[in-house]
């Protein structure tokens, strides 16, 4: 059985960069647009890297800033200064 | 099993018959007529006859269903609390063995609800 992790963001300006960064770092992930939200799912693991996000935004970015735009998640969370990981082990 | 609690956990049932001022609760289900979404909950007198229950309570409750006029409830197949049951029409509910919070089920052969959907 497939084991998907997912994250959903409010569809806004910040999230468009987030989605871009996520898709760049997780090329096998699937991106879905639904009214007012962006949902990304992937098999077993999804990672958001601070470095990629800072490149997209052209400024410093704190991983916890993501809390403002996230709607929901599925998977075990591991967060530190450099990344946010969702995972089924 | 009992409740895992910080003290001796014991309470009175909320719906004991004493709380209904001489009346009792009765539920009636007419299977295959889901126009009525669930069994009826009725407040009845224990000394009311079974015939009066059918004529004065059950018939008005089901009257808006097009099959109700054709239904011979007294001649139907009855269950009392899931056991086969032959009501004595002129005896009281109590004497028919229908106690507080009992459930009656009445099937009326040939009447299977509308649209073949048990409605």
């Amino acid at each position: 059985m497939s084991q998907l992790v997912f994250i959903a963001f409010q569809d806004n300006d910040d999230s468009r960069y987030l989605a871009e960064a996520v898709m760049e770092d997780n090329p096998d992930a699937e991106l879905q647009h639904q009214p007012a939200m962006i949902r990304i799912q992937a098999e077993k693991r999804l990672v958001i890297n601070r470095e990629t996000m800072e490149e997209k935004l052209g400024r410093d970015w704190d991983v916890q800033e993501m809390l403002i735009n996230v709607i929901s998640i599925g998977g075990n969370v591991d967060e530190d200064d450099d990344h946010f990981i969702l995972e089924w082990k | 099993m009992s409740v895992n609690a910080l003290y001796d956990y014991k309470f009175e049932p909320k719906d004991k018959v004493e709380n209904f001022h001489g009346m009792q609760l009765l539920y009636v289900l007419w299977p295959n007529h889901l126009m009525f979404c669930s069994p009826f909950a009725l407040l009845v007198q224990p000394d009311m006859t079974f015939r009066a229950l059918v004529d004065e309570v059950l018939k008005p409750a089901t009257a808006s269903h097009p099959e109700a006029a054709k239904a011979d409830f007294l001649g139907g197949e009855w269950l009392l609390n899931d056991e086969p049951f032959t009501p004595a029409p002129d005896a009281s509910l109590k004497d028919n063995g229908i106690d507080h919070k009992s459930m009656l089920t009445v099937t009326t052969p040939g009447l299977d609800g509308l649209a073949g959907a048990g409605f």
């Binding site: 059985m1 084991q3 992790v5 997912f6 959903a8 639904q34 009214p35 007012a36 939200m37 916890q64 809390l67 403002i68 709607i71 929901s72 998640i73 599925g74 998977g75 075990n76 969370v77 591991d78 967060e79 530190d80 200064d81 089924w88 082990k89 | 099993m1 009992s2 409740v3 895992n4 609690a5 956990y9 309470f11 009175e12 049932p13 909320k14 719906d15 004991k16 709380n19 009346m23 609760l25 539920y27 299977p31 009525f36 979404c37 669930s38 069994p39 009826f40 909950a41 009725l42 808006s64 609390n81 899931d82 507080h100 919070k101 459930m103 509308l114 649209a115 959907a117 048990g118 409605f119």
Partner: protein
Amino acid sequence: MVSKNKKLNLKDKYQYLTRDMAWEPTYQKKKDIFPDEDFEGIKITDWSQWEDPFRLTMDAYWKYQAEKEKKLYAIFDAFAQNNGHQNISDARYVNALKLFLTGVSPLEHAAFQGYSKVGRQFSGAGARVACQMQAIDELRHSQTQQHAMSHYNKHFNGLHDAAHMHDRVWFLSVPKSFFDDARTAGPFEFLTAISFSFEYVLTNLLFVPFMSGAAYNGDMATVTFGFSAQSDEARHMTLGLEVIKFILEQHEDNVPIVQRWIDKWFWRGFRLLSLVSMMMDYMLPNKVMSWSEAWEVYYEQNGGALFKDLERYGIRPPKYQDVANDAKHHLSHQLWSTFYQYSQATNFHTWIPGKEEMDWMSEKYPDTFDKYYRPRYEYWAKEHAEGRRFYNNTLPQLCQVCQVPTLFTEMGEPTRLSHRQMKYEGERYHFCSEACCDIFKHEPEKYIQAWLPVHQIYQGNCEGGDVETVVQKYYHIEVGVDNFEYIGSPDHKHWLSIKGKSFDSKAEKSEQDAA
């Protein structure tokens, strides 16, 4: 760059500001300070194993929450200034908000109370901090929801006395008793019930597809509070998963206790969410996703991944999940039929779905809608057209545990009502399902006290013996204004006047059929 090096990293900061702020008591016994931690039988050997993967500290919490609030209130203001209520898809949609405000928002407040309590009861500092933050979140949700809906209250009926209704109205005893059951349990059961079974496993179904639907129906205020609340929820869900893993890792004796809680609370939550199923399929005029599709994505797929992950602890999926999975084809239709026939006693209106909506349902429910449910609506629509709008004038039997009318059908037998009964200490009790009966059998003393609205009316405790008096005086539902059929209601006429039309019962009827 010196200042940058001085900054603590996330892990250190969390350690300093959470664990290191706690202390070991010296002149009081720990057992006396945290007296509620043991009685459920859960064994905790080492609280330091508790992990908060978000590593959120109070300073960061305030910063991000303040930012969320600013964004949210900017949208509320814009929505109100722009008369946003005039731009929703249809006024029928507002009825979902009436149910939300009376059924869900008071639960947010109950959650605030529940988390404040457990945030005091754990001897582990990490768990206490996470629960205290969640308590503040829940209070915020309750408040922002009331603020968002206060705008609708100015223009539509049925939104005027939500807290009062929550405590009294028959169908609202379903959400109320759900949360009362959880809050009166011990702290570990409360977290398993709310943080894990409800927040992690089930609330996505309410806050994600339904809120996306709100956006699709032009309600920017609701989608924004919904998603803003859900952004806290991501943290709550993580807490829920961590709680379960932590308890299971602490001691093998905890496994059967937690499994029973998961079985119970999955089912309690599933029954509660039956209300959401009809909100999604029937109360969103513009449809995004059906209840059965949402159930597939958010329970079968995501829940499946979750329970596969928990296998290694000896946890299996909830006992009655097969019944819940089968019910996805029927649930919303059975609920809507129930509320349609008891609309005389609700603070919102009901209606027969239009032709296009029914075609959508045929497409989404190919095996069940045309066979079992379309005939109901066609029959009732005909009755209505002939001046006999159907209402059920006899009160329904309620389940002793979930308090929903016993309206559900057996798995695989959609025309046979599911019903169970048993005797306990000489009294008879009735249930909607094997699962609710199981819950009763395990803790009968808890459920024999249930305040069942139908029985309370019959006992004479609701200010009147007839439905109209109870509804008007005891429930504070304005008869002829808030309740009954949508077509021809004051809300309907008001909506038509906003849209520059007038109410003509015949024309409206055919428009409804054509819609």
